[in-house]
């Protein structure tokens, strides 16, 4: 560990103003760096919902979970855990764990020592990096030595970084005490079923107690271990999130029961993700032609679970070695080769000062946002519409239509603006040249939206959007999303009232298939 870390405490790092850093990220990413906007059900100020006060206290400002914070804080994953102890039908083990990563992506595997070096390099370059996760490429708890060694080393050299891990749960009960002792901040368990009948269609086998177990028996053991692990973690006060993969025709309805089961055991968040399967990933589901859900099906299920507990809709199924704000990935800057050459300057004070600045920016945003929410009071209407927003983060409409790699989707009603998800798209415009071919895919991805909010948009896509029935809106460029959306919505209701326009429902939209690999 000593020689591997080799931290040089050298020249004081110049603190970069937030804008500059953001701009740098934007340049690097070709503009795809927008961050998600928090838990959907917490779209109102009374976000606590049914969480216990001590849990809410932990979640409120958490960089991963608070509804504002993850615009502003970054996280990273290190791929130190290659093995897995079971098989999922949506996973091809040539690639990263499909539970926590986009299928079809391969991460660079690291030793715990290399991982620590990488964390320090990233933390020095990106002072708002405050969360380190281990999620793969296999199952972290099928690789307990590597996973826990990494956590142990990090907590020694960078105690200000929060640790998290994601697991399929099979080995979880065996490791809960170690997780507690290492002060792991939160754990994500992927639970796709509680009924072995359903499980048998998702998991061909598990490796448990030195045997390969198949079918219902395997699914029964897995579900028991997952729920037992969840119980044990919440008993010890460790934050627990549950991920579920929505597989139409297999577990879509059943996930409502899963939602109840995990809620009653104290999971604070349930994140339902769409199955992503295409034949070229070589997964069982890819080959059997099992489809993923449409945008409307996903939202329908999330809505039906919403009354039950906090749903997270900003999950982007990022890759196991991702670096950056949610929804962006700077991992290409931090390959093993590059970090070995980097002059790592881990300066806890600079990081702290920077994080305080971010915190201020964040608070001003929260305040501004709350100012805008009351705007539709006095109106009553049953109309609900979805709108897409092109943003680079910070809660503002600050992305050019053609540069957007994803759109955030908000549901507008007289109750306010609620974040309901995001749609990943291929870059429509590369280097300023509109590419005709990709516009239809962008339109398909936001086809259920009535309007798209952008900082700027070219004449040609504007025309095609209008033709597709989606109103391009650029008059709120660089303003706060929720306030602008509500203001627009008020106008929309007025126009409907004056019979200038007729309100019609829109169709369904596509969820982009295939691996998300940063170009």
């Amino acid at each position: 560990m000593r020689q591997a870390i080799d931290v040089s405490i050298g020249g004081v790092q110049e603190m970069k103003p937030l804008d500059k850093v953001m701009q740098k990220m934007a340049e690097h990413k070709g503009c795809g760096m927008s961050a998600g906007s928090g838990k959907a059900s917490c779209g109102s100020a009374a976000g606590q919902g049914d969480l216990a006060p001590e849990v809410w206290e932990k979640v409120k400002n958490h960089p991963c979970y608070s509804e504002e914070a993850h615009h502003h804080y970054a996280r990273m994953h290190v791929a130190v855990a290659p093995s897995c102890n079971m098989q999922c039908n949506y996973c091809n083990r040539k690639y990263d764990c499909a539970n926590e990563s986009r299928p079809g992506v391969v991460s660079e595997k690291l030793t715990p020592q290399q991982a620590v070096r990488k964390v320090l390099a990233v933390a020095s370059a990106i002072p708002q990096m405050t969360v380190l996760g281990i999620a793969g490429p296999g199952d972290p708890l099928a690789n307990p030595e590597k996973t826990f060694k990494t956590f142990e080393l990090i907590s020694k050299v960078a105690p200000d970084i929060k640790l998290c891990l994601s697991t399929n749960g099979l080995a979880l009960p065996d490791h809960v005490d170690t997780i507690k002792n290492l002060n792991v901040d939160h754990v994500t368990i992927t639970i796709n079923m509680i009924d072995p009948e359903v499980g048998a269609e998702i998991y061909p086998w598990i490796f448990y107690k030195h045997r390969r177990i198949k079918g219902r028996e395997a699914a029964k053991i897995l579900a028991e271990r997952q729920l037992q692990g969840l119980d044990m973690l919440t008993e010890r006060g460790i934050l627990c999130k549950v991920n579920s993969v929505m597989i139409p025709g297999i577990n879509d309805r059943h996930l409502v029961d899963v939602n109840k089961a995990v809620k009653s055991r104290g999971a604070f968040l349930h994140n339902i993700m769409p199955l992503i399967s295409s034949p070229e990933h070589g997964t069982v589901f890819g080959l059997t032609g099992q489809r993923g859900p449409s945008a409307q099906e996903l939202k329908g299920l999330q809505d039906s679970c919403e009354g039950q507990m906090n749903m997270m809709r900003h999950c982007r199924q990022c890759r196991a070695d991702a670096v950056g704000l949610l929804g962006e990935d700077r991992s290409a800057e931090f390959t093993t080769e590059k970090i070995m050459e980097m002059d790592v300057n881990y300066d806890a004070d600079t990081r702290k000062a920077y994080q305080q600045m971010v915190e201020q920016e964040r608070r001003s945003k929260v305040a501004a946002r709350q100012g805008g929410l009351s705007q539709v009071t006095g109106e009553t209407s049953d109309i609900r519409v979805l709108v897409a927003v092109a943003t680079q983060g910070l809660g503002r409409i600050n992305e050019h239509f053609g540069h957007a790699r994803e759109f955030q989707v908000y549901e507008l009603s007289t109750g306010g603006a609620k974040f309901v998800g995001h749609r990943r798209v291929d870059l429509y415009c590369r280097g300023g040249y509109g590419e005709k071919d990709s516009l239809p895919t962008v339109i398909r991805a936001i086809n259920d939206c009535h309007a798209v909010f952008v900082a700027k948009i070219g004449g040609c896509p504007r025309g095609e959007l209008i033709q597709a029935g989606i109103e391009p809106v650029d008059r709120y460029a660089h303003e706060f999303i929720e306030q602008s959306a509500i203001a627009w919505f008020k106008g929309y209701l007025d126009r409907v009232k004056r019979a200038e326009i007729r309100h019609t429902a829109r169709g369904d939209a596509d969820i982009r298939q295939g691996a998300y690999v940063v170009a």
């Binding site: 290659p82 093995s83 083990r93 490796f207 030195h210 045997r211």
Partner: protein
Amino acid sequence: MAYKIVKSQCTACAACEPECPNNAIREKDGTFIIKPEKCTECIGYFDDPQCVAVCPVENTCIIDAACPRYQATA
């Protein structure tokens, strides 16, 4: 007969390595290999050969017909 790993299929996930009761498995040139003289086919330890049971790629850990069958040494 010992077991062997089909190199072209191995994903180098390392799942088999810690499961082997005889420490017969190690990494070599980016994939994993079994030392035939150490492999006991798990006889005397487990009902199933552990490398076969844990490996995510079917037919990757297979019997190596070229190696004489393991004999418990007297």
